[in-house]
């Protein structure tokens, strides 16, 4: 528990007296703990970032990214990059909890179990956003395509939320198995197909400048997926961390 910040202790103890208002505080305390730990070690973000850049470079050789095809292929390349880098982050963020028994410490804290879920999820989401914010301009420069597109950013936001919700739940299951981090992509990829499909289609709609009537169904799908799986993860997380 050495990397638990004083903020956690303070906020956890305050929830003992006022459990009703403590939920948001507990969520932010857990997120803050992850971010502080990351700011001090910088292990996770640098690994995710370098990995993401390597994936983009490899794609350059693997598929000919001709200028004419770029608006069509770019969403696919970007989302594969985010998903792979995201898996790296999800695994790491849960593994550090498991390794030194930090998860047990978190579970002992007098906060709702779902607060732990949302805290970890927000942390994962921040890591994903950080990678995405850096990858987008670099990709723009490398492939000479304009990704300064608020519509695209909204799709990335929505897609990342759904991905992080399911990913956080499944990664907390995966770390408790014998095969550990190997299992996460196998568990995660088949169930995030709708997010991936909708995100790729909506992104490509924005990049190709399609009409909103063609993009809206995909945005609706993304929002629906986010809501359904946030709710389900919220309800079942308790069963996953129960000892």
């Amino acid at each position: 528990m050495d990397n638990r910040s004083p903020a956690v202790e303070q906020k956890a103890s305050s929830t003992v007296h006022r459990p009703s208002s403590g939920f948001a505080q507990a969520v932010f305390a857990i997120t803050w703990k992850d971010l502080t730990a990351e700011l001090r070690s910088r292990e996770l973000l640098s690994a995710m970032l370098v990995f993401a850049l390597l994936v983009i470079i490899i794609f350059n050789f693997a598929i000919e990214l001709e200028p004419k095809l770029r608006p069509v292929i770019t969403p696919g390349v970007l989302w594969v990059t985010f998903v792979f880098a995201g898996t790296l982050g999800l695994n790491r963020s849960m593994a550090i909890e498991k390794d030194r028994g930090c998860l047990d410490g978190l579970l002992l804290a007098p906060v709702d179990r779902s607060a732990i879920f949302f805290g970890k999820m927000l942390g994962n989401l921040v890591f994903m956003f950080s990678v995405e914010i850096i990858v987008l301009p670099i990709y723009s420069v490398l492939y000479n395509i304009n990704l300064f597109n608020p519509g695209l950013w909204m799709v990335i936001l929505l897609g990342s939320i759904g991905y992080a919700a399911v990913g956080t739940l499944l990664s907390s299951m995966a770390v408790q198995t014998r095969t550990r981090d190997m299992l996460l992509p196998i568990l995660l990829f088949p169930v995030i197909v709708p997010v991936l499909l909708a995100a790729v289609k909506a992104s490509s709609g924005y990049l190709q400048g399609l009409e909103m009537t063609e993009i809206t169904p995909w945005l609706n799908l993304l929002v629906a997926y986010d809501i359904i799986f946030l709710a389900v993860a919220y309800m079942v997380f308790e069963y996953v961390v129960e000892e």
Binding site: P217, A224, V236, V240
Partner: protein, 232 residues
């Protein structure tokens, strides 16, 4: 060890007889389809297999929820049984579908909503079995299995809808839709009767298999307990 219930023995015999009867009906009773000839015969078992896969999928999701609510190991046994049966029957569905698609559509596979969803469902089942394999504690194995069937059970319909949406929106994929239309045909009453007969037969086969598999699950648990007692 409890002896096999009489009803189960009767069901097993009935399943074999019904299967043979369905097979006979497909080849001897159902008329030959005008355009596709013998190729169309696979349809009766294809539909029946897909139906069982669906039944297993729904049974697994219900058993998963029941486990999370009741925390009773018997639901875990039902869940595994349903998943395993559904896995096998969806695999047969994909194979029979491909055999039918090659002469009718001219390809073994298209990324149609039904085909893709079935393939993804198979991947979810395989992931489910791998997840269970990696956990030694039976109680935790049951809990994680139930959570994953719940997530899978919710994501599969969404996947199906999203792939359908992909087709209706994207004009390039319209080819798949017209290919689907190529495969459709009008059914005579004899064909319909054969189809329903095989559906009912396979449903009974499903119940029989599920029951057998649940018994195996219970026996496995008993063996585990006995082993545990000996080692103490």
């Amino acid at each position: 060890m409890k002896p096999q219930p009489k009803l189960l023995t009767a069901l097993s015999i009935l399943s074999v007889l019904l299967f043979l009867a369905a097979l006979a009906m497909v080849f001897l009773y159902a008329p030959l389809e005008a355009v596709m000839n013998y190729v169309q015969k696979i349809f009766y078992f294809h539909i029946a297999n897909a139906w069982i896969g669906m039944l297993g999928f729904i049974a697994a999701a219900i058993a998963g929820i029941a486990y999370l609510v009741k925390k009773d190991m018997k639901w875990d046994i039902v869940e595994v049984a349903a998943v395993e049966i559904s896995l096998v029957f969806f695999f047969i569905t994909i194979v029979t579908g491909s055999i039918w698609a090659k002469p009718s559509w001219g390809t073994w596979w298209t990324w149609d909503a039904r085909l893709t969803t079935a393939a993804i469902l198979e991947m979810i089942y395989i992931a489910y079995l791998m997840l269970r394999q990696g956990i030694e504690d039976p109680e935790r194995r049951a809990r994680f299995g139930a959570v994953y069937t719940l997530i899978g059970g919710l994501s599969v319909p969404v996947t199906f809808l999203s792939i359908r949406l992909w087709q209706t929106i994207h004009p390039a994929i319209i080819g798949a839709q017209s290919a689907e239309a190529q495969g459709s045909f009008g059914m005579t009453p004899a064909m319909l009767f054969t189809m329903f007969f095989s559906l009912i037969s396979f449903s009974i086969i499903f119940v029989t298999l599920l029951w057998h598999r649940i018994r195996i699950g219970q026996l496995t648990n008993q063996v585990e307990e006995l082993k545990h007692k000996i080692s103490e």
